[in-house]
Symmetry: none
Subunit: 249 residues, 2 copies
Amino acid sequence: MIREKRFEHIISSLKNTGAVTYSGMSMDLSVSEDTIRRDIDYLHENGLLSKVRGGAISRDKNPLSFHDRADFHATEKEIIALKVQPLLKSGMTIFMDGGTTVCAVAECLTANASLRVITNNIALVPLLGRFKNLEVIVLGGNYDRNTQTNLGAKTCEEAAEFVVDLYLMGTCAISKDFGITAAVREDGAVKKAMLKGAKSVVVLSNSKKIGINEPFVVCELQRIHVLVTELPSDDSKLDELRFKNLKII
Amino acid sequence: MIREKRFEHIISSLKNTGAVTYSGMSMDLSVSEDTIRRDIDYLHENGLLSKVRGGAISRDKNPLSFHDRADFHATEKEIIALKVQPLLKSGMTIFMDGGTTVCAVAECLTANASLRVITNNIALVPLLGRFKNLEVIVLGGNYDRNTQTNLGAKTCEEAAEFVVDLYLMGTCAISKDFGITAAVREDGAVKKAMLKGAKSVVVLSNSKKIGINEPFVVCELQRIHVLVTELPSDDSKLDELRFKNLKII
DNA sequence: TGCGAATTTGCAAGATTTTGCATTTATTTA
DNA sequence: TAAATAAATGCAAAATCTTGCAAATTCGCA
């Protein structure tokens, strides 16, 4: 039997029952479990299902799939996005980097927002494209499929060519001791490059990232001007971050 | 038996069962498997089916698409996209520019395609992101919401930093008298920049764009090596473009 | 009709991919 | 923690693909 026919059977079984097992498919299709395992590996790699122990489940039922996770934090992100709006004044040029929180900001923009946005965030571009009065400049580089951003030396180099009024820095770890830190080295490098040309820095951070440290240092707390979280600004979790020059909203 | 009669049988078997094998067709038609293999090669090149290991599967899994006029345009693009596949060899570095035809090529890529793709086409990036073995480099620039591409001086400048094996040039006007022409000046500029670094040039063009001239000259016909349209390669509409060094497929 | 050129077909050797099994490594469960 | 189960790995046999070639067939043309 042709491999693609097996794929078809696996996918359609998955649609009917929501889950398949190696042993079940092996019997259905009269091939070894190893072959089914390899088929499911392949389908998993291509995002057509989610591999789990013993077999596979359909992607939308996987509790850890990207969409569900995105939904989970949706309200938090929306709160942050709404808090950011008053900071965006007409005519500003701003940096926006990676992360779904930054995308949430784009989705909350008012229809007549008039800004020049410079970004390495590919997911953000089509969102911004809907607004007639936005000028969008994309920073090139090596596309990273995990973060959906452009990264690498080229991106940093290009970012260095701008001076902007505001830098909206996407979700990142923030703590009193080590300041802002990034989980991905190259992401950290882009953040550093954007910082250099930013007159004002706004950090968007989920409260879960507060007090957390990642391996790659981005900057000290002193460098940032505004911190936006989904918490009320007087929440005690934020106490450790209160400094004279850091505005928390 | 006449070759076209075999084609007929292969296509109709495919419609009934969704898949055919070399051995099955070989027995049905009393010819060697090699002959069937060559038949299926031919049908694959012309976009009538998808070749897979052991045989072929039907291109469209849903039966409604055949007579659907609304989908007619999409099918043309798919035919072009399928014809392009054999030109993409593992390990190549290629330019891909704007246009939905180029996106169709991305959607028809085999799952294990191993390429380095350099593009200014934002719509293309998420499509390419699905493939594990693709390296994607994005050219920055001013985002144009109409074409969903990055354009402008910066884009051209960045394109000039590469030498690629192949340039897949998206839909554009092509005529005997004026060669390749573009409707948007900045798009034409990017095309020119990409041409400079391309060892081989493949133009994807809808037959409606043949014999048409747009305001902005991109290059002469002599500069391109392969022209891909949705028409059979011996169609008379293509006659005016036949030159010694231009391969039409 | 007959001849040479071009195309089609089948075959075979060698390269590549897929498959199932045995073995090792990792994870779960009792 | 040990036993049970699942997953990953390496390997060899089988299946499939590619390539080149020669025989057979078709085609163009005189």
